[in-house]
């Protein structure tokens, strides 16, 4: 508990003519001990569990008791931290945080700071590798200078996003693999090929981020979508004749262009409208096919159910 943390904090604290100064050269804390100690005090940390990792810190502060002003300069470095937050798993997490706080009577605010977070592996339902966030704080505002992450076979990047409502930026997708995306969709049996790039303009709202008029498009030369004609598909086809023809066309749909529009709202609702041009050599020969596909789903719920089933399989595997 907190006593464990107290024992680890050593430094100099002195008081001289109304000036209180504190200086900690290089303290080190084990991340599991810190998180465990904070659990009963900080609600936000309650569903965290950290198995390994350490945090180094340097701190110096000065406070003028008379003027009731002062500053705190803190520098924190986290190394190789691993654990989970709820069902979200992470490992290889490192961070560097240099922050200058200003104290004016009772309130403390950030004057300026540089923050960096890197996570080797993050599992949110879909595995994310090599996530990196570089941010800075100035004049009370935090700005994400750069965000990058590898997932679904490709890369997602973002630049210059102020963390305040109505600020905007755009998420760039490059080389996302259609087959990887489908692997995490509700129809993993579909096989596909093709790389997607995209630009998703996003704006921050008080509830989270919104994406309007996002565009995705398949890289040349396109790819294919093959919906297996299994019993679920056959049953659906038998009850809806027009649907049967669509499913037959999608059994081996070779496409050369794919253009999609994407919208996303902070509550997790995504809607995709894609227009895909191609042919099914087995069915329509060379006659071109225009395939309009629209898809709506709650992404946050999808990710949650992916994490839930993953955790369940892990629990079962762990037990024998």
């Amino acid at each position: 508990s907190l006593s464990l943390i107290n024992s680890a904090i050593a430094g100099s604290l002195n008081y001289h003519s109304k000036l209180l100064t504190a200086n900690i050269k290089n303290g080190q804390l084990s991340a599991p001990v810190l998180i465990d100690g904070l659990q009963s005090y900080v609600p936000a940390v309650q569903n965290w569990s950290v198995e390994k990792g350490s945090i180094n810190y340097q701190l110096n502060a000065s406070y003028n008791l008379q003027k009731k002003t002062g500053y705190v300069k803190s520098s924190l470095q986290g190394q190789d931290i691993a654990g989970q937050k709820g069902t979200i798993l992470f490992d290889g997490l490192t961070f560097n945080s240099d922050t200058d706080f200003e104290i004016k009577s009772a309130n403390v605010h950030i004057k300026q700071g540089q923050q960096q977070l890197m996570v080797d592996n993050l599992f949110v339902g879909v595995p994310i590798q090599a996530m990196q966030i570089d941010a800075h704080n100035s004049a009370g505002i935090t700005v994400i200078d750069e965000f990058s992450a590898h997932l679904l076979g490709g890369e997602v990047t973002l630049e210059n996003l102020k963390i305040q409502p109505q600020s905007s930026s755009s998420l760039k997708l490059s080389g996302l693999s259609l087959s990887e995306i489908i692997k995490y969709s509700a129809y993993p049996a579909i096989t596909a090929n093709g790389l997607l790039d995209g630009v998703l303009p996003l704006t921050l709202t008080s509830k989270g981020l919104n994406i309007k008029k996002g565009v995705i498009f398949a890289r040349a030369p396109g790819g294919y979508i093959k919906v297996p004609q299994d019993d679920v598909v056959k049953k659906m086809a038998s009850t809806h004749p027009t649907f049967a023809f669509t499913l037959r066309l999608l059994s081996n749909f070779q496409f050369d262009t794919l253009q999609g529009k994407i919208g996303y709202t902070a509550d997790g609702e995504i809607d995709i409208n894609a227009e895909i041009h191609g042919v099914n050599p087995d069915v329509s020969g060379v006659q071109p096919v225009k395939f309009n596909y629209s898809h709506t789903e709650n992404m946050l719920k999808l990710l949650e159910s992916l994490r839930f089933s993953d955790e369940l399989t892990r629990q079962i595997q762990e037990n024998y």
Binding site: A186, F245, T246, L249, L250, H277, S284, V286, Q287, P288, V289, K290, F291, N292, Y293, S294, H295, T296, E297, N298, K301, L302, E304, S305
Partner: protein
């Protein structure tokens, strides 16, 4: 004369539409209904 076989490119494309709506709500509702079953009072768990 020999019959001329003309392979005319079919002009207008076939258009197919597919609208998919995945509702995870079902999962949440069912989850709650199953929660009621799998607790001590139900006598079935």
């Amino acid at each position: 004369c020999t019959p001329r076989v003309e392979l005319a490119m079919p002009s207008e494309p076939i258009t197919i539409n597919l609208n998919v709506k995945i509702d995870h709500q079902i999962r949440v509702k069912v989850d709650q209904q199953l929660d009621e079953l799998f607790n001590d009072e139900s006598g079935l768990f």
